[in-house]
């Protein structure tokens, strides 16, 4: 697979750049687009993004590794991000974590064999009033109980 965007996405990149006086500022959005396109950020993708923004690849690499939301390796179809920071910890995040691990048979950072689920624990998601909370891909789920969690995971195709 050659690493490059189709015409339509190259147009998007141009639009992203237009928001800033310097191309470099668009790096975040371009990386998100690349991630959507290629699944995760490989060294080849870093090179490609660097070429789009006239940056050294080493610069792009530094940015990619600094932020936690750029994926450096493949994840499952559903990325479970369970918050276990203070408010969620107080409201039962540990039990939930145990339940997910048991149900899916994976540890934090791992992906189920068929590639369906990846499990992460994450920092506060800014939804502590609904603790315990998790995100699956870009959707937030709050006021979780073990039962609710079971039903939710079972409902995902």
């Amino acid at each position: 697979m050659s690493v490059s965007f189709p015409e339509k996405d190259r147009k998007l990149v141009e639009e992203m750049i237009r928001h800033y006086p310097h191309k470099k500022s668009a790096i975040g959005d371009v990386l998100y687009l690349a991630q959507k396109h290629f699944g995760y950020i490989t060294p080849e993708v870093e090179l490609y993004v660097a070429s789009l923004l006239d940056l050294p690849a080493s610069y792009v690499h530094q940015v990619v590794t600094f932020y936690s939301m750029y994926l450096k390796k493949p994840v499952g179809k559903y990325l479970i991000m369970l918050c276990d920071n203070v408010s969620c910890l107080l409201c039962g995040a540990e039990d939930l974590l145990g339940r997910i691990k048991e149900k899916l048979g994976i540890e934090v950072g791992e992906t189920t064999q068929e590639g369906k689920f990846t499990l992460w624990t994450v920092e506060c998601l800014g939804a502590c009033e609904q603790a315990p909370v998790m995100m699956i891909n870009d959707k937030l789920y709050g006021n979780l109980t073990p039962d609710k969690l079971d039903r939710l995971l079972d409902s995902l195709e």
Binding site: H22, F66, Y67, E123, G126, E129
Partner: protein
């Protein structure tokens, strides 16, 4: 004191995120007034100064005073940046504002941008806030279509373009200089101040950075008058703010209260008291960076900047985390230490190494392998970080450690010494062999 409904009134109105509904409820009248009556920047700044509105992102700096720092004779662009990074553990108020009242924020943005003559505004929103991002994006389009944003706003000849910039998962990017580095397309590395952003900020141009909630109070200040707003609070702490309550309470959520309200009222009345009839043990008053309070302190203190400073804590982001009698304070501190260790950007040795050491010692204590000496080591490390770093994350990491150990020393000693006893007895049994 009863809740006030200034920002939070929009939390209860259906579809308040839509322009039409916002306008039916009086929206955009403050911005329209400022523009059509041709307010001078100084008039806006003096009005906001008179309201005593302080920065609600954490540091509490008076908003109008900060705007006044932007050099008037500067040629070239100036920027307004909205801090919507909201990543301080225990804090979620800005999310509520953006989802329910995006136009209130945009109206505040218009007024603030006019006060410093900024034509471009960047909203830096944390990457995880998908819903808020989509709501804001739509609100900006609606406002542009109505002629309130974009070129020639309210037919006045002024133009203001609002851009959204998504973060990508790094707590440190909430710190204003790190935020600017990130917005410029770099790692979120804080910079030493001075120069302050108001003089040399985004793309080296004068820049004002304000929190979402701070800016959302601006239209209210203009609409109701600075005296009204200042009069709600206590001396030097103007108005009201949004308190986000989480943890062991019956009704966690966002409550808007005049500054100076007793914390007791927030916890026991508005938030419905402690779950399952248990008793209060401790409260973190404004996000995890703020020194913890004992139940006794929490029951007595009032929620304003000065009252918390008097007991060596802070109001921070007003994210109030409530802990009941069953809480394991050692475990909570351990989680806090892991957070700061993970989020340290690594530029300053005391912060990078110190937060890592503290997290590892705490993990050792939690796992039952602590030593008596660990507590003093933790306090030593904390004292070496505080004040010796580029940005306040170092202090933010040290303050919980010092306050937790000082105020709950018995609990920490019991846990740490359990490890010492196990260590001693395993030595003994080794000798016996």
């Amino acid at each position: 004191m009863p809740q006030v409904k200034l920002i939070s009134r929009f939390f209860e109105i259906e579809n308040s995120h839509r322009l039409r509904v916002y306008e039916e409820n009086g929206g955009y009248s403050a911005a329209r007034k400022v523009v059509t009556e041709n307010w001078e920047p100084d008039k806006i700044i003096n009005t906001v100064k008179a309201s005593n509105l302080r920065g609600l992102g954490g540091a509490g700096f008076p908003a109008g005073v900060k705007w006044g720092f932007v050099p008037k004779d500067h040629e070239g662009p100036k920027y307004l940046v909205v801090n919507a990074d909201e990543s301080e553990p225990g804090t979620f108020k800005d999310r509520h504002v953006m989802i329910n009242a995006p136009h209130l924020l945009l109206e505040g943005v218009i007024i603030a941008a006019l006060s410093i003559a900024a034509k471009d505004v960047y909203i830096y929103i944390r990457g995880e806030y998908w819903e808020a991002y989509h709501v804001l994006e739509r609100a900006i389009k609606e406002a542009e279509k109505a002629g309130y944003l974009g070129k020639n706003i309210f037919g006045s000849g002024h133009s203001i373009k609002v851009h959204i910039h998504r973060g990508a998962g790094a707590y440190i990017c909430g710190e204003e200089t790190a935020l600017l580095s990130s917005l410029e397309g770099f790692k979120g590395w804080p910079k030493l101040k001075p120069p302050f952003p108001a003089v040399k900020g985004l793309f080296s141009m004068p820049t004002i950075i304000n929190n979402v909630e701070t800016l959302s109070y601006v239209p209210i200040v203009i609409e109701k008058g600075p005296e009204y707003f200042a009069g709600l609070g206590v001396e030097r702490s103007g108005g009201a703010r949004l308190f986000g309550v989480s943890g062991h309470v019956n009704r966690p959520g966002v409550y808007e209260l005049p500054l100076g309200t007793p914390m007791r009222e927030l916890i026991h009345e508005h938030a419905g008291g402690i779950r399952e009839g248990r008793s209060l043990k401790a409260v973190i008053p404004g996000g995890t960076s703020c020194p913890v309070l004992t139940a006794e302190e929490a029951e007595k203190v009032n929620l304003d900047f000065d009252s918390l400073a008097e007991i060596d804590s802070m109001l921070g982001s007003a994210g109030v985390i409530v802990m009941d009698e069953t809480t394991d304070m050692v475990k909570v501190l351990c989680r806090i230490c892991k957070f700061y260790s993970f989020e340290s950007c690594g530029q300053c040795t005391p912060c990078r190494e110190g937060t890592g050491w503290m997290a590892r010692i705490m993990e050792r204590i939690v796992s039952g392998n602590g030593h008596y000496q660990d507590l003093d080591d933790l306090l030593d490390i904390a004292s070496m970080i505080g004040g010796n770093t580029i940005c306040p994350l170092g202090d933010a990491a040290a303050l919980p450690v010092t306050s937790f150990i000082k105020k709950f020393r018995d609990e920490f000693e019991a846990k740490a010494s359990a490890g010492s006893i196990t260590a001693a007895s395993s030595r003994l049994s080794a000798e016996e062999l």
